[in-house]
């Protein structure tokens, strides 16, 4: 601790904080730019004049987005998906992690089961079998298709499993002596003691559900059923102009609307807000959860 005030320490701190500040600014700038574009005049944005401050301030883009149903339909589906998906995922993950955290004596074949789970991290069937399985299950084009296939998050399961193993064994033994069974132990001892790791895993799941877009496009049969990120993907998609040569004149007139960056920016910004709101509240658990879960005793 003596080195705390030494010269080299101060220099180190200056550079360290300077470096970290720069790093966070780098992460912040894209956000600010998107925000500035969303609040700018259309042609100024198209000409690339907007940097970090809006040019010719206007709320027109936000008004445009608010007047369109598509954005809010998609937002609703995304919220439904996150709530249902996170609840379901947490339930099955906890239920899988608890028995696997027991020792081989208490749960014969435990290692084998654990490896079966781990196997699915390393290998998967590929896109087509994945699609066909979901199709044959008959849940294609429904919310279940987005929620059920990824319900068991094996990585989260391992985090949880490791955390459970780190809890003092004496607690469990004492509970058994008092006549508790496994359900009681899980719900009344393990779960309450594991809030940090549970919060972390919940956050992972929520963010995962919120951000995924590819499954929405593949598994949904109509753009009206897309969750928010899939919808945004269709809106923000990069222009590939190689098929434009034979464009229809009516369609061609719409081309100038594609360059409408301000509306895109407004939608992107609105889509990030919910997650931005969740993060700060879960962050304290987030760090504790990861550290605790990763250290075995």
């Amino acid at each position: 601790m003596a080195g705390q005030t030494s010269f080299s320490r101060i220099v180190f701190n200056i550079f360290n904080y300077g470096f970290l500040a720069l790093l966070s600014l780098m992460a912040l700038f894209p956000f600010l730019n998107v925000l500035a574009v969303s609040l700018s005049n259309k042609s100024a944005a198209a000409a690339g004049l907007v940097k970090l401050w809006p040019v010719e301030f206007t709320f027109a883009s936000y008004r445009f987005v608010f007047l369109r149903d598509e954005f809010f339909t998609a937002l609703g589906i995304s919220l439904e998906r996150v709530l249902l998906g996170a609840a379901l995922s947490m339930l099955v993950t906890v239920l899988a992690a608890y028995p696997l955290s027991k020792e081989e004596k208490a749960f014969p074949g435990r290692t084998l089961y654990a490896w079966i789970f781990v196997f699915t991290i390393l290998f998967n069937g590929g896109l087509i079998p994945w699609y066909m399985t979901i199709k044959m299950t008959g849940i294609l084009d429904s919310l279940w298709a987005l929620v059920l296939p990824g319900a068991v998050q094996v990585f989260n399961c391992l985090l949880l499993l490791n955390f459970f193993r780190g809890l003092p064994k004496a607690l469990e033994e004492a509970a058994f002596v008092d006549g508790a069974n496994h359900w009681t132990i899980l719900w009344r001892i393990f779960i309450p003691l594991s809030t940090p790791v549970l919060a972390t895993v919940t956050l992972f799941t929520v963010v995962g559900h919120w951000n995924s877009w590819f499954d929405g496009i593949i598994l949904m049969n109509s753009p009206n059923h897309y969750p928010l990120q899939s919808y945004l993907q269709t809106v923000v998609v990069k222009m590939n102009t190689s098929t434009f040569a034979n464009i229809d004149p009516v369609q061609a007139r719409l081309l100038s609307e594609i360059s409408d960056r301000t509306v895109k920016a407004a939608q992107i910004f609105m889509a990030t807000i919910p997650i931005l709101l969740v993060y700060p509240f879960l962050q304290k658990y987030f760090m504790a959860g990861i550290v605790l879960g990763s250290v075995k005793e």
């Binding site: 849940i139 359900w183 496009i217 109509s222 269709t234 222009m239 034979n246 229809d248």
Partner: protein, 582 residues
């Protein structure tokens, strides 16, 4: 006790969930299977009826038949509220006029190559989950043909195609149909497109030319002079050296905007065509010595600061920023640039005068633009339509194409109905034609629009406005002349009578300028395996040469690498194909 109860609740909840899930899937399966039973039941009697009945191109099925397809839309498409892919004027018309009940298995937004539509369709093909009418690009067409999943359409086209459709398919020597023909059988119906529409042109700020007292470009040396002047003589007048001579995006020679195709063609170099050499053999144009000359010139221009040094990381949209903000006054592009990005430039600076020019040559031989085959092989939505092998009524797909041609272009037959194209009036720019299950656009559509507008403006020829698309553009042009409004600007510099995008295409056509790929077969085995690698090698090498990262002589190394890495084999295969065509 409490614990027991909790446990029980949990178990019940779990059980309920399982029941629910299985019930859901059961229900869906049931409806599906009844559907197929129903549709096959309705199918069988009408098959017999159809085979006995006449071959009316727009004959109605009675009782109605059921067909399925999928729809791939573009991010540009906008539809009126209440009009969905499943229910719209087209599906209603199909049922009412043709007796075809069109089911849409799925729809998706994203028709760009490699986009959501292509991916979803690839999965559908791989998992054999195909509708009756399958819209595909050339790659997927070959896949379906190779796996015997495409129905033979030769008879159906011969018997059922309407005169209008036959005319569309015969355009450009019927090359489009040939690309969908395998061993003498037509296995895919191409969506006919204008081959001339892909021709390159030069867009230049005429006001800058006048300001700097430069001549209009007649030769490549004029272009080089203009590029130099636009870089060094401060065309935008802000006393800073912040403009570039010519635009370029990271795609270098594809995309139809901010690219080099037209520039290379000024040196008689073509990026990717199979052309005949002096010995009558087909050779790959991308490795010919003309290319080296053109690349050397580009390297000089880059070194002289005439090209944005950041072009390697900029896509078209990003380069547009420089055009709109008045930092770039010349670019090679296509006719549709009139709609993107030029209206934005006009909006930002109404004094910007954009004028298109035909591509120019470096020597006394004329510069000839490369043109398409009359079909768009990369488009998954507007490429080809394949009828699934084994499904009933392949002729129904031809009827649907007839129906499209009739509704969109049938001013002679009286079938034309603008309501099928778009709502009227249409202030929000909604489209309807994209709902059609099969497209059959007129390949001469755009040039006819131009010629109609020109005849009406210059000779007051009211007869020319019988083509209602020409009339629409004529009206917008007149409005622009009167109001100079931004909304009409795009159409005005696209289809207006003089110095417009389509006037350049008209010039090419009248002078018979245009060269197309002499290889129009499906991809050979080596192409399937190696072409993407070779294309990447070509793009990387050219970009490096252009940026001066390697000397121009690296081109020779590229040529020998290209040959070694599969190019020689490809050349052999292409020539074998060519010999078989004769």
């Amino acid at each position: 006790m409490k614990v027991k109860r909790l446990q029980r609740i949990m178990l019940i909840a779990l059980m309920l969930m399982l029941v629910w899930i299985t019930a859901c899937s059961k229900a869906e399966e049931n409806t599906q299977s009844t559907q197929t039973i129903e549709s096959s039941a309705t199918d069988s009697p009408s098959t017999q009826a159809a085979s006995e009945e006449n071959t009316n191109p727009l004959g109605k099925y009675d009782p109605p038949i059921t067909l399925s397809t999928v729809k791939i839309f573009s991010a540009v498409d906008k539809f009126a509220p209440g009009e969905t892919p499943e229910k719209n004027i087209w599906t209603d018309g199909y049922l009412k006029d043709l007796g075809i009940d069109m089911k849409i298995n799925w729809s998706v937004v994203g028709d760009e190559p490699g986009g959501a539509g292509e991916q979803k369709l690839n999965i559908a093909i791989a998992s054999n989950d195909l509708p009756d009418i399958i819209p595909v690009n050339a790659k997927q067409m070959k896949q379906l043909v190779d796996n015997g999943m495409a129905e033979d359409l030769t008879d159906a086209i011969a018997k059922y195609a309407s005169p209008l459709l036959k005319k569309f398919l015969a355009a450009n020597d019927g090359l489009a149909l040939k690309t969908g023909t395998f061993n003498g059988k037509v296995l895919a119906l191409p969506v006919p497109t204008a081959s001339i529409d892909t021709a390159a042109m030069i867009w230049i700020r005429k006001d800058w030319l006048d300001k700097l007292q430069l001549p209009e470009p007649k030769t490549m040396s004029d272009i080089l002079k203009i590029s130099d002047a636009f870089t060094n003589q401060d065309p935008d007048g802000n006393k800073e050296k912040d403009s570039f001579g010519i635009s370029l995006s990271k795609d270098l020679y594809t995309g139809g905007l901010h690219e080099l195709t037209g520039f290379l063609e000024g040196y008689h170099a073509y990026r990717n065509l199979w052309l005949k050499d002096t010995n009558g053999r087909l050779v790959y144009s991308g490795i010919q010595p003309e290319m080296k000359t053109a690349l050397a010139k580009l390297q000089e221009m880059f070194k002289a600061g005439q090209i944005d040094p950041e072009f390697g990381v900029k896509d078209n949209g990003k380069v547009n920023e420089s055009v709109i903000s008045g930092k770039i006054g010349m670019f090679y592009g296509s006719h549709w640039n009139a709609f993107w990005p030029l209206p934005d430039s006009f909006k930002q600076d109404p004094k910007a005068v954009w004028k298109p020019y035909p591509i120019v040559s470096a020597d006394d031989k004329p510069a000839i633009p490369s043109i398409g085959l009359g079909v768009n092989p990369e488009s998954v939505n507007m490429g080809y339509a394949v009828f699934k092998k084994g499904s009933k009524h392949p002729e129904a797909m031809i009827k649907l194409a007839n129906y499209y041609a009739d509704k969109e272009y049938g001013w002679e037959t009286g079938g034309y109905n603008e309501e099928f194209h778009q709502p009227n009036p249409n202030p929000d720019g909604y489209g309807r034609w994209r709902f059609a299950a099969v497209y059959a656009p007129d390949p001469d559509q755009n040039i006819n629009i131009y010629r109609g507008v020109k005849a009406a403006v210059e000779n007051n020829d009211q007869n020319a406005l019988k083509n209602l698309q020409a009339k629409g553009n004529y009206d917008i042009y007149q409005k622009f002349i009167k109001d100079h409004d931004q909304g009409s600007y795009g159409n005005a510099i696209w289809a207006g009578p003089k110095d417009t995008a389509l006037s350049i295409l008209d010039y090419y056509m009248n002078n018979k300028l245009g060269i197309s790929d002499m290889f129009f077969g499906s991809k050979t085995d080596t192409m399937v395996k190696k072409q993407s690698t070779l294309d990447k090698l070509q793009l990387e090498t050219f970009t490096k040469i252009l940026m001066g990262a390697v000397p121009v002589d690296a081109f020779d190394q590229f040529v020998s690498d290209w040959k070694k890495l599969g190019g020689d084999k490809m050349t052999q295969e292409v020539n074998d194909w060519y010999a078989a065509q004769k």
